[in-house]
């Protein structure tokens, strides 16, 4: 590291949520603690393995591309919402998803952090849950759409990217399986820093 620095050479931090309003910085032991003057952060599942990756722009430098390779990772589902009465990207939609006895909420946002935008489809980690109990979408138009029951699981399942059209029938959803996790992000395939 250079001697000259104005709050330079700082780690990026990864605060893992440990519950009860507590977090723990695990950036270094997970290999996501890059030391450059990082600015924007983009989040998405770039390789379609159900785990969220990161692209980070660094001032006057090359970016970080962090592919998520965490071994202990749960199931996931990604919902791409398509507005019909609402704006097409469903920006502002609020989703409650219940699985494994837990309800999670996410909102579709276009632009946040610092000069950054994450992938619009909503990603839900599911832990060990292998089915989804219900999805409730409050669309910007005000429409509240509830999807539940056996039909839901027959058509959606987990570890998929699912399109949901506003007010649409379940059979209108296009689904795609995430690719196999074991072959997905094997470190050996990539040139690493």
């Amino acid at each position: 590291m250079g001697d000259n620095s104005w709050n330079g050479y700082e780690h990026n931090c990864f605060f893992a949520n440990t519950g009860d309003g507590q977090f723990m910085d695990v950036a270094r032991p997970t290999g996501s603690d890059g030391i450059k003057d990082s600015r924007g952060v983009g989040i998405a599942d770039f390789n379609g393995d159900g785990r969220l990756d990161m692209i980070i722009n660094n001032n006057n430098e090359t970016p970080f591309l962090y592919l998520n390779n965490l071994a202990k990772s749960g199931n996931a589902i990604v919902l791409k919402l398509v507005g019909t009465r609402s704006n097409h990207d469903a920006i502002g939609a609020y989703v409650r998803l219940t699985a494994g006895g837990k309800t999670m909420t996410r909102q579709v946002e276009a632009g946040s952090g610092y000069a950054s935008e994450a992938w619009l489809p909503l990603h839900f980690g599911l832990g060990s849950a292998e089915r989804i109990d219900s999805i409730e979408i409050t669309w910007p138009s005000g429409l509240v759409q509830r999807i539940e029951g056996a039909e839901l699981n027959a058509l959606i399942g987990v570890n998929r990217l699912v399109h949901i059209e506003e007010g649409g029938e379940l059979n209108e959803m296009a689904t795609a399986h995430f690719i196999s996790r074991t072959s997905a992000a094997a470190a050996e395939r990539y040139s690493m820093r």
Binding site: E10, G21, G40, L52, Q107, G111, S112, A115
Partner: protein, 606 residues
């Protein structure tokens, strides 16, 4: 306490007097003159402690290299004695995903002297196979007896590997009692006379949770460039606030071609770029292709942010580019992999100080509107006041007229924040069905614009408890505690220079300002500031350097800051993101850090 009361009274007096009569203020200034010298001594004391910590850091490196603990114990006084300190031991704690966790705890009540300390340090170093980096910084100065003794909270971070090959990081907070053992008049000779463990953690793993892919090997041949027009060396004569060139570098993820594979857009000072995701859907092998030229997006310079949304509901994401001191741009996505520049037609080609933006449908007409964040004009202005700068051009809200164009509704909507804005985000924090807007201002405060549902917004940050004074750089909403309410995480500056924000510096600042014409010119600003924070203003200096803030949404329109959530000491933070990194259902937080590597700060080596 007496000092705080003094400061409060001083500011009140200054405001009142300056508003009535500038001449009368000089009387107060004269009375304060004797404190100048005291402040200079405080500054030198703080500086010398930073040097001490920097030497201590080298001491650890040397002790490890030479296997000689005296390289560290020499920083402790001969009369070092820590009563009831206890042995500091690492205890296994519950693992977090692939990460093994140990907590450093003080065991027992044993009194420590230098011999006991030496044994403990030997044990600590034995455990370490290699050291990559050490940081040893002032977290807070708790007590000062000028030039004689100091109680300081120290942040200690060591990146290393252990004998088993695990990659670890130690993050310790100590309370050190320092005494100056130099003879009067001689250079500072600080020694630790007593120490105490506040908390400590070791996190350990294989550092393979994220593969740090060389971007160029997967098709991303991008390197960020600053805007050459902001290069101070070339244009310094024209620039009042030249540091801004170091701030640029947003990034966006968008599926611009609707193939369900997320693509990447880099706004850039010289040439912004779009990379198409062409990853193999069967094997998951990641691959990107530079499609900037074929997409018709060549030549976008001076750009800080590129935010995408489908503006005309034709099924494809359009692009707004926030450009600093240059006309903004809007590109329509034609749906065939190309974009068309419709900046002028859509009414978004105004030149200003745009640095960021977000889309939201504030009036629920089914078309997304655009909120643009504007920084100050670095060529003509500096942030005034430095902790409450309100002299930037107002942020702008544009209403989308059914996809045909945008109309500026800033004034009517009441969203024209004049802080030096660096970040904006929209979310319905109070779950009334309407998206609200949050703003992070550098050299200032956060704003929270509550959507009234009639085209107007009301700024409620004070009532909501999210003023969060600091150098605000980023913010993001997310429900980290699964109670159905969007919480808020803001990124700020946690500076090594934080000690500088203590009472004594604040009062010196007031005295310095009082001597200049700025007090009179800015009197109205001081009054606004005082109206906003009242008697709490003295604490602001301390808060400003504290770092990021995590606010839990209480569900009644207010937020509570979770100060002990271990999310605030990130660094000089920029973008922040909530996402579930390990698919365990709850949201984690990523924070990007670092200001200027390779360039000394205004008080070098602090």
């Amino acid at each position: 306490m007496a000092r705080k009361r003094f400061l409060k009274i001083t500011l009140k007096i200054l405001i009142t007097l300056s508003l009535i009569c500038g001449v009368a203020a000089t009387v107060v200034i004269y009375a304060m003159k004797s404190r100048d010298e005291e402040h200079a001594r405080f500054f030198n004391t703080g500086k010398s402690i930073n040097s001490f910590l920097s030497l201590y850091k080298h001491g650890i490196e040397e002790a490890f290299r030479k296997n000689d603990t005296s390289e560290i114990t020499s920083f402790y006084s001969e009369s070092y004695r820590s009563p009831a300190r206890g042995r500091w031991v690492m205890q296994p704690a519950p693992a977090e995903n692939d990460v093994t966790v140990f907590k450093l705890v003080a065991e027992g009540q044993e009194e420590y002297d230098r011999n006991a300390l030496d044994r403990e340090l030997s044990g600590y170093l034995r455990n370490i196979a290699s050291i990559q980096n050490i940081w040893c910084k002032i977290d807070m100065i708790e007590k000062v007896e000028l030039e004689r003794s100091v109680v300081v909270r120290v942040k200690y971070i060591l990146d290393g590997t252990d004998a088993q090959g695990a990659i670890f990081q130690d993050r310790h907070f100590y309370r050190w009692h320092l005494v100056n053992e130099a003879a009067p008049g001689a250079p500072f000779n600080w020694k630790i006379i007593q120490d105490e463990l506040i908390e400590g953690l070791r996190v350990e793993g294989n550092a393979r949770g994220f593969i740090d892919v060389e971007p160029s090997s997967v098709g991303i041949d991008f390197k960020h460039s600053r805007d050459p027009k902001l290069n101070a060396a070339k244009y310094s004569a024209q620039m009042k606030f030249d540091i801004i060139e170091h701030g640029s570098g947003g990034v966006s993820v968008v599926d611009y071609n609707n193939d369900d594979r997320p693509d990447i857009f880099f706004p850039d000072g010289v040439r912004s770029r779009l990379y198409k995701n062409i990853s193999d859907s069967r094997t998951g092998e990641v691959r990107f292709l530079d499609v900037t030229s074929e997409a018709g997006l060549d030549g976008i310079d001076q750009a800080n942010a590129g935010i995408f949304a489908d503006v005309d509901n034709d099924g494809f994401s359009d692009l707004f580019v926030a450009r600093y001191l240059a006309p903004n741009k809007f590109f329509h996505n034609n749906g065939d992999g190309t974009f068309t520049d419709l900046s002028a037609k859509m009414g978004l080609d105004f030149a200003s100080t745009s640095v960021t933006a977000c889309f939201l449908d504030y009036n629920h007409d089914g078309f997304v509107d655009l909120y643009i964040g504007l920084y100050g004009d670095a060529i003509h202005d500096i942030p005034r006041l430095p902790f409450f700068a309100q002299n930037a051009p107002p942020n702008r809200l544009f209403r989308n007229d059914s996809g045909r164009g945008f109309t500026d509704v800033t004034e009517a909507s009441g969203t024209g924040d004049v802080g030096w804005t660096l970040a904006v985000a929209a979310a319905d924090y109070d779950r009334d069905g309407l998206p609200d807007i949050a703003v992070a201002n550098d050299f200032g405060r956060k704003s929270l614009f509550h959507n009234n549902g009639d085209g107007t917004f009301t700024e409620v940050a004070k009532q909501a408890g999210v003023l969060d004074f600091s150098g605000g750089m980023g913010l993001v909403f997310g429900d980290f505690n699964d109670d159905g309410l969007p919480d808020l995480y803001t990124s700020n500056i946690n500076s090594n220079q934080r000690w500088f924000g203590e009472d004594m510096t604040v009062s010196q600042y007031v005295r310095n300002v009082a001597r200049t014409k700025w007090l009179l010119l800015d009197a109205a600003e001081y009054k606004k500031f005082y109206d906003l924070v009242g008697s709490k203003w003295v604490d602001i200096g301390r808060d400003i350097g504290e770092g990021n803030s995590l606010f839990r949404n209480n569900g009644d329109g207010t937020f509570s800051e979770l100060k002990n959530s271990h999310t605030n000491r990130a660094g000089w933070s920029w973008s922040v993101a909530f996402f579930d990194m390990d698919n365990d259902t709850d949201l984690d937080i990523y924070a990007a850090n670092g200001w200027i590597s390779g360039k000394a700060g205004p008080s070098a080596d602090l």
